[in-house]
Amino acid sequence: MDFNLNEDQSAVHDAMSTLLARHAGPLRLRELGGDEPTYDHELERHLEAAGFLDLAGHGSTNRLDAALVQEAISLALGTVATSSRLLIAPSLPEAIKGPVSVIAAGHRGPARFAADAVALIVIGDHEVRFVAPPPAPVERVVSRLGWPVGQLDDVPHGDVMIDVDPAEVLAWARIAIAIELVGAMRFATDMAVGYVTERKQFNRALGSFQAVQHGLAECAVAVEGARWLSLEAAHNGTPEAAAAALTHAIQATKVVFPRTHQYCGAMGFTQEFDLHLATMRVVALRAEGEALGRPGMALARQRWASLSS
């Protein structure tokens, strides 16, 4: 047990920070379209070239390094489908090259990256299917939630992936979303802390009001809890830890989303202010997490078999 980055992780972290400062961040997201962006192939190429997308090798059970990379990408508001490549792909028989969209079997409706994906990964109760290429063309859906979204109406059956455990894939899909949520929530919390530190009303900084301090302190607890639980889950990789991480990350959004907006006042409602770039993404990620099956229910049932129906 060690809560600090080791030497290799620190080196990756520093190199990632440099790369992301140059090729990601809110300005880059705005170039791509802000709350309605196009896919950032360029960022993906840079990450690939630097070797950051293959940190967890095939079959690897410890994907913590990959999770740390994904967290940094999410904190920098990267518009790439890297979480599946970093965290899910090691559980699949074939390497994923290019964006994929991860959905639950029976999914019908909008899905993140569906219009950009080279393949769909369809997680069922008993099997995982690989649909490549996806049904073409997938129509784009306006979401204004900060991601490129495509409409999936008739998903072809695709091929069953042999020797793939659907529970394992679902677990990593949950961890991936939890990590992405953590990155976006950290961004939102940082923005709100910045706003209330600068903004003066009643001749004092808003951040000096205890109500605001307590509210943001609870955001911090929620985000830290979700963060460490997700990182621990990425280390352990069990379905139970994964369900707990996503459940807690979703609970954290219920604190972070309304509060960060609340404390940023009307400024938080403008396109100009970066807060919404993160909070709208939070809504989408949460929706995606729920669409993969209720994680809280999954956790309870995994832990207490007597609760399964």
């Binding site: 939630l145 907006h261 396109q271 809504v283």
Partner: protein, 380 residues
């Protein structure tokens, strides 16, 4: 104590609902049904006109001003039925609720003759010029300056977040006339006709649906002294009185309940199953709407009895904010992945719910007032 509706009010509700069922289906959908959109504001002119023809736009106004002194309960039924359909009066609910009454209470006969008839005809848009870049929650620190020059005021300064500022014909504007007085003291209300030379309006793109804010920059704008509402430097009292019941004037809980219903209907029509988790969330959200409703009714009861505004208004408003947020949660539980579609009810409600604790004054300020006035806690 009893909680029934008398015949007059339940009869009115029936009549109103049947009018709405007849009028709305042909007009009230798509962008028109989104409060704050251009189409919505445009339609409000037709709709408010139809209400006016029936005497329902300003029923609570005194007979002298074209109303029939209807009880606050009738106004409540009206507000509730309209907000439960998403508020087809558009921005004009503000005119009827508090701008008109404020002009009645403080206006000169000339002002009343000029401004009230268009309001009661349902064919005028007002905007509210209160907030400034440095005066949000601390509204009394506003600095837009009005200096007297003979029979005009020369106004300089910036207003921000002005909803409807781009389409309004008039602005109910708060200015500072005495910069030396204690902050609440030197404020005055001016009724500004728009557009007017020196007033530059620009839109600030927002994230809440189609609702957009505006910035109003005043550069040497000349406003006749005849357009001052109430006495000079008495604006704070004028506006506080005007807004004293507004905490329940917009029954947001009714719109939230409407969105809940919409989300359920869209999902059901789409053939989706709503799982037990979502069903429980729906129940919890619906109960919160009901709590906000009954707390609002308590305020209306006070008003009907001419009891001065109490912290019950703050309780009701906080309950409304909570209801809006729980409805957003329930909508997301129902829609799950479908939230990713911009026009889905849950996508819309999530954005809307954000404004609830900010738009009509900060949630925390309501909590401060409840702590002090309702719980009697000592001042910090």
């Amino acid at each position: 104590m009893e909680f029934g509706w008398d015949d007059e009010h339940s009869g009115y509700r029936t009549e109103l609902v049947s009018f709405l069922n007849e009028e709305l289906p042909d007009h009230w959908h798509g962008e028109t049904a989104i409060l704050g959109s251009e189409a919505n504001t445009k339609y409000s002119r037709r709709f408010a006109g139809l209400l006016a023809e029936r005497g329902w736009l300003t029923p609570h106004w005194p007979v002298d001003f074209g109303g029939f002194d209807a009880s606050p309960w009738m106004l409540a039924v009206l507000g509730e039925e309209l907000w439960s359909r998403g508020e087809p009066r558009g921005p004009q609910y503000m005119n009827a609720n508090w701008i008109g009454p404020s002009i009645m209470a403080n206006g000169t006969p000339e002002q009343q003759a000029r401004y009230l008839p268009p309001i009661s005809r349902g064919d005028v848009i007002w905007c509210q010029g209160f907030s400034e870049p440095d005066a949000g929650t601390d509204l009394a620190s506003l600095r837009t300056r009005a200096e007297r020059d003979g029979d005009v005021y020369i106004v300089n300064g910036t207003k921000i977040w002005t909803s409807y500022g781009d389409v309004a014909e008039h602005c109910y504007l708060l200015v500072r006339t005495n910069p030396d007085a204690e902050s609440h003291r030197g404020i005055t209300v001016l009724l500004v006709d728009m557009p007017t030379p020196g007033l530059q309006v620009s839109t600030i793109p927002g994230v809440v649906g189609d609702h957009s804010f505006n910035e109003l920059i005043f550069t040497d704008v000349r406003i006749p002294v005849a357009n001052r509402l109430g006495d000079e430097n008495e604006g704070w009292t004028v506006v506080r009185e005007a807004l004293s019941y507004e905490r329940v004037g917009s029954p947001r809980w009714a719109r939230a309940a409407f969105m809940l219903n919409e989300t359920i209907e869209v999902a059901t029509a789409d053939g989706r199953t709503i799982d037990p988790i979502a069903i429980e969330a729906i129940g919890i959200a619906k109960a919160a709407c009901e709590a906000a409703r009954v707390l609002s009714y308590r305020v209306i009861d006070e008003r009907a009895r001419n009891i001065p505004p109490s912290p019950n208004g703050n309780l009701a408003r906080v309950a409304m904010v909570q209801a809006e947020r729980l409805v957003a949660e329930a909508c997301l539980a129902i829609d799950a992945g479908h939230t990713l579609t911009y026009r889905s009810p849950s996508n819309y409600q999530f954005r809307k719910s954000l404004a609830a604790g900010v738009a009509a004054g900060a949630y925390e300020v309501q909590l401060n007032l409840i702590s002090r006035l309702h719980l009697g806690l000592p001042k910090g």
